[in-house]
């Protein structure tokens, strides 16, 4: 561009018009995003430095709210549970789905029906799913214990949602139930883009394991990355609905997750300052996770 003659006035006017039109076209999207995503987070940082009940005057506290949060045992319990939930559910969904997809990646009759069936729970809301599974888990009248009884497996009968050692895992199971079909369909679609000659060639040589490691998995990596990113980020949020509907965080905070505790702090204890301090901390953690994942994905894409 250096040494090029200065743009003529007409060209500059055209350039400016393109700029203005471009920004006019993206403005509504950006405005919505700034107003209801970026601004709330900035505002939350400000509120987190105050004592505030959500209605009255705000009183400056400095970093005290953060100190309260770090000293709050339930918050740490909730964070711990959130991490167990997010990672447990992500690993379970993706491993199960990958295994299923590998097994089903052959021309089978009825695969369309299978896809329709296993994708169905995805369409349902977490509220419906949560209420339904609370009933399936009911210790006396629930389907699960009735099935176990009928199979002669009385020893396995549990208070699925009332036993503090089990409740969180029961809820995680429901999340996995809702989404495994989804990830299976994702992986199946990914597998279908891999030329079958590549896999067949390896199979004929009798080295299915090597084929998987050196052909299938690398080619499937973008799909795996997408699928894992989706489930991690999703699991940090979806746990709210299920926990709220199924256990309200109990028994004894054993299923408390970050979002339910934040909401309780804000609306039951009317402590918006502390609730926003927790939101900021959670936001930072998730943002770091997201960024790491994003960078990993980009690196994979390059390499």
């Amino acid at each position: 561009m250096t040494g090029a003659p200065a743009l003529s006035r007409a060209a500059r006017a055209r350039r400016l018009r393109t700029d203005l039109t471009g920004w006019a076209f993206v403005a509504p999207a950006l405005l919505l995003f700034l107003l209801f995503v970026i601004w709330p987070m900035g505002h939350a940082v400000w509120i987190s430095l105050h004592r505030w009940d959500g209605l009255g005057q705000m009183a400056w506290l400095g970093l005290d709210n953060y100190r309260f949060v770090f000293g709050d045992k339930v918050f740490w319990k909730a964070m711990h549970n959130t991490f167990i939930y997010a990672f447990g559910v992500t690993v379970a969904k993706n491993l199960l789905a990958l295994g299923l997809a590998l097994l089903l990646n052959r021309p089978l009759r009825g695969r369309g029906f299978f896809r329709t069936a296993s994708f169905t729970p995805v369409v349902l809301s977490f509220v419906v799913v949560g209420v339904l599974w609370s009933w399936i888990f009911d210790p006396t009248f629930g389907l699960l214990n009735a099935v176990l009884w009928a199979l002669g497996l009385q020893g396995l009968i549990q208070g699925w949602l009332s036993d503090p050692d089990i409740a969180l895992y029961s809820i995680m199971f429901v999340d996995v139930w809702k989404w495994t079909g989804y990830h299976t369909v994702l992986f199946l679609a990914g597998l279908q883009t891999i030329p079958s000659e590549l896999i067949e060639a390896g199979r004929l040589e009798g080295k299915p394991r090597q084929v998987f490691r050196h052909v299938t998995l690398p080619l499937l990596m973008p799909v795996v990355a997408f699928s894992v990113l989706l489930s991690i980020v999703g699991a940090f949020v979806s746990n709210y609905d299920l926990v709220r509907v199924m256990t309200q965080g109990g028994p004894f905070h054993s299923t408390e997750v970050a979002l339910t505790w934040i909401t309780t702090t804000a609306f039951r204890f009317n402590n918006f300052g502390k609730a926003d301090a927790m939101s900021v901390i959670l936001f930072l953690i998730v943002a770091v996770l997201g960024a790491v994942q994003f960078l990993l994905m980009r690196q994979r894409g390059r390499g």
Partner: protein, 283 residues
């Protein structure tokens, strides 16, 4: 030689059988809870406890009108429909025109605009629920359906723009250039040429955004306080609390809440699978 052939055939039959078995187990696991819900909705209060997994002895069809009236489900369906279509009415035009500008106009700052939106994909929105609640309160929009429409649209913007960009990029650039050479303004090139071509992308997006809005509970439960403005998920949770002992009615309410989306899904599976997987699966 012949043994080798049978050997080979046997080894290809076993995984086939295993696959069918797995498919069957998966399908039953996915569908049986729903069947159980539908069966439960037809049982009487007493039978619900005594006949846990059988067919209802004497189907109680009136559980449905009962639940409908007691749960005030009519108004809740209406509210969910208003919120969902409102969200679509904002999201679809706003994100497709933004995606058009980002993919086919060379304006200064375009990568800045796109980068800002991409950031949004990495923010899971539940994390911002309490902060969003405070902003909605400041704007005086608490307890309104408009608040839900705005918040859901804002949350959809990042991902939807991203999807539409991918879609526009998959169209040949010459089409847009030709339209411009024919004397179309930017807006009419977008509106009359590009948008009609983007119909499959719009359909997939509508499914994704619409399903998310229809099913959203967290923010709706914070923002809406008036039972007459509750959406279906919020209404179902209040129903659970209020009629905690009338299970068949609760199951009838659950069944009714599930039916519209389930029916749509069965009618338009391709669009649903493509939309909910962000275009990763072409249906």
């Amino acid at each position: 030689m012949s043994t080798m052939v049978t050997e080979g055939r046997r080894s290809s039959i076993a995984p086939r059988v295993a696959s069918y078995l797995l498919m069957a187990i998966m399908a039953v696991l996915a569908l049986y809870p729903l069947v159980w819900m539908a069966l439960g909705s037809l049982k009487s209060g007493g039978e619900f406890y005594t006949n846990i997994w059988g067919l209802p002895a004497d189907p109680q069809w009136r559980n449905f009108p009962d639940a409908w009236v007691r749960g005030g489900l009519g108004i809740k369906f209406l509210n969910s429909a208003i919120v969902t279509f409102g969200t679509l009415a904002i999201t679809l035009p706003v994100t497709s025109i933004a995606a058009y500008a980002i993919t086919s106009m060379d304006f200064r700052g375009r990568s800045l605009a796109y980068g800002a939106l991409l950031l949004g994909i990495m923010i899971p929105f539940g994390v911002t629920a309490i902060p969003v609640f405070s902003v909605i309160a400041q704007l005086g929009l608490l307890n309104t359906r408009l608040a839900l429409v705005l918040v859901y649209s804002a949350q959809a913007v990042a991902f939807s723009t991203f999807l539409m960009c991918a879609f526009f990029q998959s169209l040949p650039a010459e089409i847009e250039e030709a339209a411009r050479l024919e004397g179309c303004t930017r807006f009419s090139a977008f509106w009359r040429v590009m948008l009609p071509l983007a119909r499959p992308g719009l359909a997939a997006q509508a499914v994704f955004v619409g399903t998310t809005a229809w099913n959203e509970y967290f923010l709706a439960s914070l923002i809406i306080r008036d039972p007459a403005r509750e959406t279906i998920p919020v209404g179902l949770v209040s129903f659970t609390g209020r009629y905690a002992t009338d299970y068949p009615a609760l199951f009838a309410a659950l069944t009714m809440a599930t039916l519209p989306l389930l029916a749509l899904y069965l009618l338009a599976q391709k669009q649903f699978v493509a939309g909910l997987t962000g275009g990763a699966v072409k249906g």
